[in-house]
């Protein structure tokens, strides 16, 4: 079994990890923002319900959530989940949206009341105040915690293996099954490279936003 063959097969697996990663980000960031607004809502029942949801999701393992999303529709409603990738995506989006929502909430709440009031006395609408004044300040503050969380997401994508999504670790285990063990360790290179790129990217964003405080 040549090095090239193994690398290609692992790369095909890692492509699944990347797909899960990007799709999770795509959906969980807007959903997270929505959840953060709900938990900050002045309408108490709404904020209570969403705080409970966030607590449940953050308080249980992602692996368990993967099992729930994958098996419960079949066991309880008689509609088995056929698409493993979809199940993984749903679990990841919900899980990460909840984590992100807490980061967004912290970021939004850290902006001083004076910034809102300055916008108000200048006659701006709530929407203008949020998009033109608050948003960039929040973005700056959440870059460090978001970069941590997003790098964790890269590695968490390998958890999808527990519901047999054909990601990189599953690919490596096939080789291990045939008695070739080194590909399993070689998967680390892919994760390292990807996380390295992300670290550079976030460093760049942080630097871009360092002109104000």
């Amino acid at each position: 079994m040549s090095f090239q063959q193994v690398s290609l097969s692992l790369a095909a697996g890692f492509l699944e990890n990347c797909r899960l990663f990007f799709e999770t980000l795509l959906f969980s960031i807007p959903l997270g923002l929505l959840i953060s607004f709900c938990t900050m809502s002045k309408f108490k029942p709404l904020s209570f319900v969403f705080k409970i949801i966030v607590w449940c999701i953050r308080g249980t393992p992602l692996m368990l959530q993967l099992f729930v999303v994958f098996y419960v529709p079949g066991l309880v409603f008689g509609i088995p989940m056929r698409n493993r990738m979809l199940a993984a995506l749903i679990a990841f989006v919900i899980n990460y949206a909840c984590y992100f929502s807490e980061i967004f909430r912290g970021g939004i709440e850290s902006i001083s009341k004076g910034q809102y009031e300055a916008g108000q006395v200048l006659g701006l609408t709530k929407r203008q105040i949020f998009t033109k004044i608050i948003l960039l300040q929040v973005t700056k503050r959440i870059v460090p915690p978001m970069s941590n969380e997003i790098i964790t997401l890269v590695k968490d994508t390998s958890l999808a293996r527990v519901i047999a999504v054909g990601e990189i670790l599953l690919a490596a285990e096939r080789f291990a099954g045939k008695g070739v063990i080194w590909p399993l360790f070689f998967t680390g290179v892919y994760f390292l490279a990807f996380c390295g790129l992300l670290t550079l990217l976030f460093g760049y964003i942080e630097k871009k936003l360092s002109y104000f405080n």
Binding site: G114, Q115, E117, G119, V121, F212
Partner: protein
């Protein structure tokens, strides 16, 4: 006719009655100073004028038009509230500049969003204001690159850019090092000669005395004494005013 007519403004937070019926009027081009000890309700009064709080009772009229009436405030739409609040400008104790924008953009942001003219006009007017507060060479700087006094001057220019009928200041120099208060007070003095109508909450007694046409001394949510600076500082009638002024000096 008075440019500002405030009648019987009342405001409570929960059970504490902070404003217990405040009435005064102001002529165009006049400067009113509000003095009084901490907790007497000065900030709350300015916040009511600027619609950051809604008074529980009373009316506010500008140029004879009632822009606030506590008995019908619920009927005002958000956009009416925004229009009415633009009759007033407010300069905060803590400046509250927008950190991500440079000096020029801090000033042009609201006029552009409110479509107060073409972007060239807005920029020209903003530059004129920046010059007026003496910061032309800092127009590209960000707030974090400015001293407190400079930031407060930008905040004043930002408020002026919307051409409010009445500009309010809430202790504009309290957050500044003593050596920086002078430059901010000078700007306010210059505005007076430019005929701006202003309400200044301040602990700078010398300044209040020299710049004001009218002085209000507030104590426990009421106007304890109101008059010309000569009356209030030179010949105070109320014992509370006397003891307050004695403490300060």
């Amino acid at each position: 006719m008075s440019v500002l007519e405030v009648k019987n403004i009342k405001k409570s937070f929960g059970k504490t009655e902070v404003l217990k019926g405040i009435s005064f009027s102001l002529e165009k081009g006049e400067v009113l100073s509000i003095i009084g000890s901490s907790g007497s309700g000065k900030t709350t009064l300015l916040r009511c004028l600027n619609f950051l709080e809604f008074a529980d009772g009373g009316t506010i009229s500008v140029d004879g038009e009632t822009i606030f009436d506590a008995s019908s405030v619920k009927k005002l739409s958000d956009s009416q509230i925004r229009d009415n609040r633009l009759r007033f400008g407010l300069v905060f104790q803590s400046f509250n500049l927008f950190p991500q924008y440079n000096v020029l953009k801090n000033i042009t942001l609201a006029p552009s969003l409110l479509k107060r003219g073409t972007s060239e006009q807005i920029e020209q007017e903003a530059l004129a204001l920046i010059e007026r507060v003496g910061l032309l060479e800092k127009k590209e700087n960000y707030p974090c690159q400015l001293s407190g006094g400079q930031q407060q001057r930008v905040a004043i220019a930002r408020a002026l850019a919307l051409k409010p009928d009445i500009l309010c200041f809430d202790e504009p120099t309290s957050a500044l090092d003593p050596e920086l208060t002078g430059e901010v007070l000078k700007v306010i003095r210059d505005l007076k000669s430019g005929d701006s109508t202003m309400i200044v909450v301040t602990h700078e007694m010398e300044f209040a005395r020299s710049v004001s046409d009218k002085v209000i001394f507030m104590a426990d949510g009421v106007i304890e004494e109101m008059g010309t600076p000569e009356q209030i500082f030179g010949n105070p009638k109320s014992p509370k005013t006397k003891s307050f002024l004695n403490q300060i000096v």
